[in-house]
């Protein structure tokens, strides 16, 4: 696990995402519109809250891996926070330290054959560092 102080986490996220997470006023529109919210351990709004509170355990959340960057939260945030970029920043913090989430060699030959290449490349880009 990465040792991060709350401040370091906030700085890393703001730098990588280019977003001001403290602009969030917790209206929850991001969560309300997220098609994956029901599968998530932290809702998108909670992810923002954890970052604001400096709680680095947000990096253990499954939420950041379930986000598929569909940009629904991004277009709905009343404060203009591009939440998809915040999620990407959290993924990248982990991926750049070697915790890949996708192993192409685990796919069966049949799966490799039938999956569209854009699924494989997009998955690799989002889930491999």
């Amino acid at each position: 696990m990465i040792e991060f102080s709350g401040k370091e986490l906030q700085q890393a996220v703001e730098e990588l995402s280019g977003q001001k997470v403290f602009a969030c006023y917790h209206c929850g529109k991001c969560t309300a519109g997220c098609p994956f919210a029901s599968e998530m351990d932290l809702t998108p709004r909670q992810v923002l809250e954890y970052i604001m509170d400096g709680r680095a355990e947000v990096l253990d959340s499954q939420t950041i891996w379930l986000c598929a960057a569909c940009f629904t939260c991004t277009v709905r945030c009343p404060n203009g926070i591009d939440i998809a970029k915040v999620m990407e920043a959290l993924r990248q913090i982990l991926l750049r330290r070697g915790s890949d989430k996708f192993d192409l060699s685990e796919l069966s030959e049949q799966e490799r054959g039938e999956l569209p290449q854009i699924a494989l490349v997009a998955g690799a880009r989002k889930l491999i560092g």
């Binding site: 598929a68 960057a69 569909c70 990407e88 880009r125 989002k126």
Partner: protein, 293 residues
Amino acid sequence: MRILYYPGCSLKTQAAGFDRSARAAMAALGVELVELERWNCCGTISSLTTDDLMRQLAPIRNLIRVQEAGEERLTTACAMCYNTLKRAGLRVQEHPEELAKINAFLDEEPDYRGGVRVLHLLELLRDELGFEAVAKRVARPLLGLKVAPYYGCLLLRPRGVGLDDPENPSILEELVRALGAEPVDSPLKTQCCGSYHTATHKEVVAKRAHKILSDAAIRGAEIVISSCPLCSFNLDNRQRLVQETYDGFAPLPVLYFTELMALAFGLEEASSSLEQHYIDPRPLLLEHQLLRT
């Protein structure tokens, strides 16, 4: 009209019918899609961090190819290619310092000067040809066919990149009407299909597909149209898993919007790719007398 066209990887392989029907339908409207020379991967999906210039090289290189061809516009049919190419172009337009870095790195290429417009075929239909011209070309109106447009994410979002209102788009409905069919509106038409999770979490995708397709079916849809090979795979091929997982689910065929156009224009290309879909749309089309037996 001749216009540069970027097919992308999927339209050359799994979604070959999308490519074939796009070329044929546009040709029927007097538009020749001229394939971009030496195109490479569009980048597939936009990387979203501030320091990911390396991942902008592939899309920018394609825009350099457009510039080399002496053109200012590039069309695509695939929603993912459209989004990734357009987004990269807009990004370097807004950040000249990033463009300078990319140009310096791509030292074997001429500098990208900016200004190439990336257009989706749907925009070309709406903004330049007009849906009236589309309606005039219809040889076999798709009367009585109930079609649910599925937009997904990348045709619409983020704002400024998408080609229509991100919350309430209508461009596909307009096309469906122009072809003589009846559009069926579903509030889930803009909700994500699960995208690349299909490679790692197919049960998540099956859940999405089940929800999206069931809602369209409840509202009377007989068929769904899409403009993305990944959405199509998730909504069409994943129906095998949807059927295994959810009792009582009735399959729904998924076509590319260009296939629907080719069908309404009475083009041979319309029927050549129909059998490649997982859920065979031919029985439904025969029932509506939209296919020659």
